[in-house]
């Protein structure tokens, strides 16, 4: 047995290029999985850490409406109820005008109350005379080491910050170093009074941290005044995890595709190696090796390749993760307002997961060829027949199982409506099922080529293609899958993008937008003074001002975004997916106190005819009169009239303003005038097209990682095709030598090889086109509808199809360059006498 294994492994080293290619493609597949895994874990770790560091040891927190909770609630809890483990917290976001409006978290604590929550803030003692200004001086902050390093800030520096519509300067009193829970986040740590003043939250608190046992928590929850509620600290982290779960699952699924492509290649190599060695295997059987031993030999060969590939893949994945972490965290930041993603170290668990995935995929892919090898009968050696004899029968079986798998996948897809992972598995089955039709497609392409051209070389090429189909099929299938993924993902992204563009033009109706720079997009934190509305309306050239308040409110479905908008402008009918009555009728009801909800909210939570929201007057039911399209956040949004909002919430602040210009006034010109009027507030004035461009930039950033994954699958497939072609052509050197001996010129031989390769690439590309289209439809259903609850209009475009054709044919032709060059060096006699 040992000798057998050694023989098998020697075979691998004798074909170093093929072995290396398999290792490389598997390594890439594993690397992608590991990198995405790491990025996901980092993101999760990042906001768990930041949630924990900000929560300290709190078990519960008292929270309120968008404007926070009144200070009196804290005094009542601490002094009235005698809750010793209670600490007030004021939190917000500030922008740094000198650092490209980079946002930074402002955390205001009462250090005298923090004792039970944090033990690592001891150096921040009020009894240190140099630290006294932290408490006694306004606008004084301590920063974390991470923040100090990334901005080059030192104790004693003055840092301009923008909060809402106020520009202020913060004195950096000190830098907190060493191991602290807060140290790993970027923040301005302030005294609670300073934070209230800086953030314009006089008399209000963001929350009250508490340490409570379950019994007293239940008791307290019942006693809290209306508009204030108790939640457990775990809930926050849970919410953040749930929020991004769909996003992370999608990434993982896409990363697994690269691995699937990689395992096709292992299958390809092992099948090929078994086919090529049939005589050897037969001899081995004849001299007494059992089928079981042969099976093990082939599996060990595969395992060695897979292990090597996985180990390299894990290392490579770690390097790639650096890039992926950035992309993932940016998206999470853009969409979920969760900052501070950390670089997670590669844990042994993650590395083991990568290796076992690679090894598992490799062994699974090698199982079929290994079984086949073990079944080689000693007598076959003597007949020297090739297994291609059963080509027709095999083609039928393969195609039938392909159709079967795709059908099972399609049925499964229909059944797995609610399960994201189920949807992905079904999608994969459909994809692989179609890929199994590659040999059939090869035959069709060959027939077509033969019929189309009378050129003898094309006829030879077309004739030989189907004969080698069992050797080329796995590589072709891999290429088909990769190209189909590229087509599908590209179509999905393009469709999504044009849907969003269309939606933007329906929603962005003002000429100018005014907002706080740190709080662009739909971030709910910005609070601007309501005085801005009349102030802006008075500027010459302004026709109308619409104030928007975007906040997070507690609902029966957890915390959800709410937009309170100017009720005067009736929304377009195209914005509604479902509406009770005409657009005008819907809006009439909104003015009267009803709300409309976004489709992602509706589909995720099965919103009925009304929705319960926690207002400052207690929990209230609002009738739902329509479902509207909204792509700003997958959390879903409730839209209500700002007049209604002000009735229920004690929160006159606004988040942003839309301005329309009077007829004949250039928006850019008006923007200048508004900027001049707002001088000193630090507010940003952007014209419609800038807002739209920014939204699309965020969109593109979101899909940057998807695009990168799509490219990687193609790279993996390219190496696979290269390896398969190389092996095939090397093996056929005797056949080519015979053709040369019969008079085929070297030029003709080259043409033959390139034609064969080109036809293979063409087959894969052609098959990938409908497959890609199907995939795009499925992806839109899974990612957009099932994961995020968005309706996307499929948009067909020729470019991805052309790209598939160019990449497919190009990759195949490129793969043929090396073997043909090598062939030239081979002498005729040598080739003929080989074997």
């Amino acid at each position: 047995m040992r000798a057998l294994i050694r023989a098998g492994l020697r075979d691998l080293t004798r074909r170093p290029i093929q072995s290396a290619l398999v290792v490389l493609s598997l390594a890439l597949g594993v690397a992608v999985v590991v990198a995405i895994d790491l990025a996901n874990v980092s993101a999760q770790h990042g906001f768990e850490l930041s949630a924990q560091s900000v929560a300290g040891a709190a078990t519960h927190r008292v929270v309120g409406g968008p404007a926070g909770i009144p200070e009196a609630v804290y005094l009542q809890l601490r002094v009235g109820h005698g809750l010793r483990a209670a600490a007030p917290v004021v939190e917000g976001i500030a922008a740094l005008p000198e650092s490209n409006q980079r946002p930074v978290r402002v955390l205001g604590l009462d250090l005298f109350a923090e004792g039970p929550f944090r033990t690592d803030l001891e150096p921040l003692s009020a009894f240190r005379p140099e630290f006294a200004p932290f408490f006694s001086q306004p606008a004084t902050a301590v920063i974390t080491q991470q923040f100090s390093e990334s901005l080059g800030l030192l104790p004693g520096d003055r840092l301009p910050v923008q909060t809402g519509d106020r520009l202020s300067t913060v004195n950096i009193l000190g830098v907190l170093t060493g191991d602290t829970a807060l140290g790993s986040t970027e923040l301005l740590l302030m005294d609670i009074a300073g934070a209230q003043e800086l953030l314009g939250m006089i008399g209000r608190l963001s929350r009250i941290d508490l340490i409570l046992d379950p019994a007293s928590a239940a008791e307290l929850a019942a006693e809290l005044p209306a508009g204030v509620r108790l939640e457990s600290a775990g809930e926050q982290i849970e919410v953040a995890n749930q929020l991004t779960a769909a996003f992370r699952t999608n990434l993982t699924a896409l990363s697994l595709l690269a691995l699937v492509v990689g395992s096709f290649l292992i299958y390809n190599t092992m099948t090929f190696s078994v086919l090529r060695r049939r005589p050897v295997l037969g001899t081995l059987r004849a001299i007494g090796s059992t089928g079981d031993q042969i099976l093990r030999m082939v599996l060990i060969e595969a395992a060695v390749l897979a292990l090597l590939g996985s180990a390299i893949g894990v290392g490579l994945g770690f390097v790639m993760a650096r890039g992926a972490v950035g992309l993932v965290s940016q998206t999470i930041h853009d969409f979920y307002f969760l900052a501070s993603v950390q670089d997670a170290p590669l844990s042994p668990g993650l590395a083991a997961k990568g290796v076992s995935l690679g090894l598992g995929a490799g062994l699974l892919a090698a199982l079929a060829p290994a079984i086949e090898a073990s079944r080689v009968r000693p007598v076959e050696v003597l007949r020297r027949s090739s297994s291609e004899a059963g080509v027709a029968r095999r083609l039928l079986t393969l195609s039938a199982s392909g159709v079967g798998l795709a059908t099972v996948g399609a049925v499964g897809f229909q059944l797995s409506r609610r399960s994201l992972i189920g949807s992905f598995i079904a999608m994969l089955a459909i994809l692989v099922g179609i890929a199994l039709l590659a040999p059939l497609a090869t035959r069709a392409v060959a027939l077509a080529a033969r019929a189309a051209r009378r050129d003898p070389i094309i006829r030879i090429a077309a004739g030989s293609l189907p004969r080698h189909s069992s050797r080329t099929a796995p590589a072709l299938a891999a290429l088909t899958v990769a190209l189909a993924v590229a087509v599908g993902v590209t179509l999905m992204i393009a469709s999504f993008r044009s849907t969003v563009e269309n939606w933007l033009s329906l929603t962005l109706r003002s000429d100018l937008y005014v907002g706080s720079p740190a709080t662009t997009g739909t971030r709910p934190m910005a609070s601007l003074s309501p005085d801005l509305e009349p102030r802006l309306a008075g500027i010459p050239g302004v026709k109308d001002v619409e104030a928007i308040r975007a906040v997070l409110v507690e609902s029966e479905f957890g915390e959800i975004p709410l937009s309170a908008v100017d009720p005067r402008r009736v929304r377009d009918a195209e914005l509604y997916r479902l509406a009770q009555g005409s657009a005008a009728e819907v809006w009439e009801q909104v003015r009267a106190g009803s709300v409309v909800v976004s489709e992602s909210l509706a589909s995720r939570n099965r919103v009925g005819s009304s929705i319960e929201l926690s207002t400052d007057l207690g929990v209230k039911k609002f009738p739902v009169v329509g479902i509207f399209y909204d792509y700003s956040t997958d959390r879903g949004t409730v839209l209500m009239s700002r007049a209604v909002y002000l009735d229920y919430w004690n929160d006159p602040a606004i988040s942003s303003l839309g301005l329309s210009a009077q007829a004949g006034v250039e928006p850019a010109e008006l923007a200048e005038r508004v900027r001049a009027a707002l001088d000193g507030t630090g507010l940003e004035v952007r014209i419609n097209s800038q807002v739209r461009a920014q939204a699309l930039a965020i969109f593109d950033r979101t899909f940057a990682i998807t695009a990168a994954l799509r490219l990687l699958a193609v790279v993996v497939a390219f190496f696979g095709v290269l390896g398969a072609l190389l092996a095939l052509l090397l093996e056929r050197s005797r056949e080519f030598a015979t053709l040369s001996a019969l008079g085929l010129t070297p030029e003709g031989l080259r043409r033959l090889v390139f034609t064969e390769s080109g036809l293979m690439g063409l087959t894969a590309s052609l098959l990938a086109m409908p497959t890609g289209l199907i995939l795009a439809v499925l992806l839109i259903e899974v990612i957009d509808a099932r994961s995020f609850g968005w309706t996307i209009q499929l948009e067909l475009h020729w470019l991805p199809f052309a790209q598939a054709l160019i990449v497919g044919v190009g990759a195949s032709l490129a793969a043929a360059i090396y073997p043909t060059a090598r062939m030239k060096r081979l002498s005729l006699a040598q080739a003929l006498t080989q074997e």
Binding site: R78, P88, F131, N171, L173, T177, G194, L346
Partner: protein, 375 residues
């Protein structure tokens, strides 16, 4: 050959583990590097003689950095069990005067308070502390009406001169609610209320006491309500140089003698010596006689070591005042009346015997660590 791939895997894994090892930061204790402090406006020093007015001076003195209001007392329950209590409120200004801020939480005042109860029958001494910023509703002090509070620990005058008071404090299963009635007018501990704390003239504080307040009220100990009666002592002290350079702590004695006199003695200690000492004896008619170093002798009879804090305290004293024909022997009500709080010190009830009997309170600070960082 067979081993090679496994070796590579090991290298691969080992390499990544190395990388991950580099990624995690080394453990370091938290610390804070600060901008060098710019000298701000200075606090007032206790140098001018005080023109004492109860309506004003019971209240806070924000121009001075440090201030405290000390209530201690020996109590007896109806069953005849002895109790000692301490309720102290401290104020520390971060800058002179009272800061005006837009935020209601804005303050340059820190308050902290200690509550301790000694139960002689159970042989138990318990102490608690609180810290707070000095803002409305959380902690503060005022002169008219006189009150000092930190959350629900409070001292409140029931009359305009602050001679009738209510003390309330509650923590866990310990609680007190006491009515105090002054039996003496406030007594200054030095000319113009100035009490010397060091060799420099600015090393001084304003210091006065009401050395006897008859006390009635309720204690709750372990869920049991006890009606108690006894006598309290009130100290009020403020200044900006409480601890002269080199001082680590002090010993303080406040004794109520059965012959109707009261005695206050203090000695400020350096690490191995007494820096300065002094005191006041209050005669039956309320006349105060200021004592200097030469007027009395304090001899330590034994020591007590705290197993929990590791500190070693004097425990039991012989105090001689030859000029007053007094020879007193003091024994603590309990050996362990150590307040193991952020500041670790001993403060406890004592029994007086000797030429005359009595009861009192003793405070021993700076035995565990110097008090310099706190005052």
């Amino acid at each position: 050959m067979r081993r090679l791939p496994l070796a590579l895997v090991a290298i691969g894994l080992g390499g990544t583990t190395l990388l991950s090892g580099c990624a995690s930061a080394a453990e370091a204790p938290p610390s804070l590097s600060l901008a060098p402090g710019a000298p701000g406006p200075a606090f007032k020093e206790a140098v001018e003689p005080l023109e004492f007015s109860a309506q004003v001076d019971h209240g806070p003195h924000f121009d001075f950095q440090t201030e405290w209001w000390y209530y201690t007392g020996n109590l007896e329950s109806e069953a005849g069990n002895r109790y000692g209590y301490q309720l102290t409120l401290f104020r520390r200004g971060l800058s002179p005067g009272l800061a005006q801020r837009r935020s209601n939480f804005g303050s340059n005042q820190i308050y902290f308070a200690h509550l301790a109860l000694t139960d002689a029958s159970l042989g138990e001494h318990r102490a608690f502390e609180r810290f707070s910023r000095g803002v409305e509703g959380l902690a503060g002090a005022s002169a008219d009406p006189y009150q000092v509070y930190l959350e629900d620990w409070s001292v409140a005058a029931l009359d305009s001169t602050g001679s009738t008071l209510r003390l309330r404090a509650r923590e866990q299963d310990v609680s007190l609610d006491l009515h105090l009635q002054a039996e003496r007018a406030p007594v200054m501990h030095g000319p113009g209320g100035l009490s010397l704390k060091g060799v420099n003239p600015t090393d001084a504080t304003y210091y006065y006491s009401i050395p006897a307040l008859s006390t009635d009220g309720t204690l709750w100990v372990r869920g049991e309500q006890l009606f108690v009666h006894g006598s309290s002592w009130f100290d009020h002290e403020w200044g900006s140089s409480v601890m002269p350079l080199g001082a680590v702590g002090w010993d303080w004695f406040g004794l109520q003698l059965d012959d109707g006199r009261e005695l206050m003695l203090y000695q400020i200690r350096t690490l191995d010596d007494v820096l300065i000492s002094g005191g006041t004896i209050i005669e039956q008619d309320g006349r105060a006689i200021w004592l200097s170093e030469a007027d009395f002798e304090i001899e330590t009879l034994s020591t007590w070591s705290s197993r929990l804090s590791g500190s070693k305290y004097p425990s039991g004293w012989r105090i001689g005042l030859p000029g007053e024909q007094l020879e007193l022997e003091l024994q603590p009500l309990l050996a362990d009346q150590e307040n193991r709080l952020t500041i670790v010190y001993w403060e406890g009830a004592v029994t007086v015997a000797g030429s005359v009997g009595g009861r009192g309170y003793v405070e021993l600070t700076g035995y565990q660590a110097s008090l310099q960082p706190w005052f």
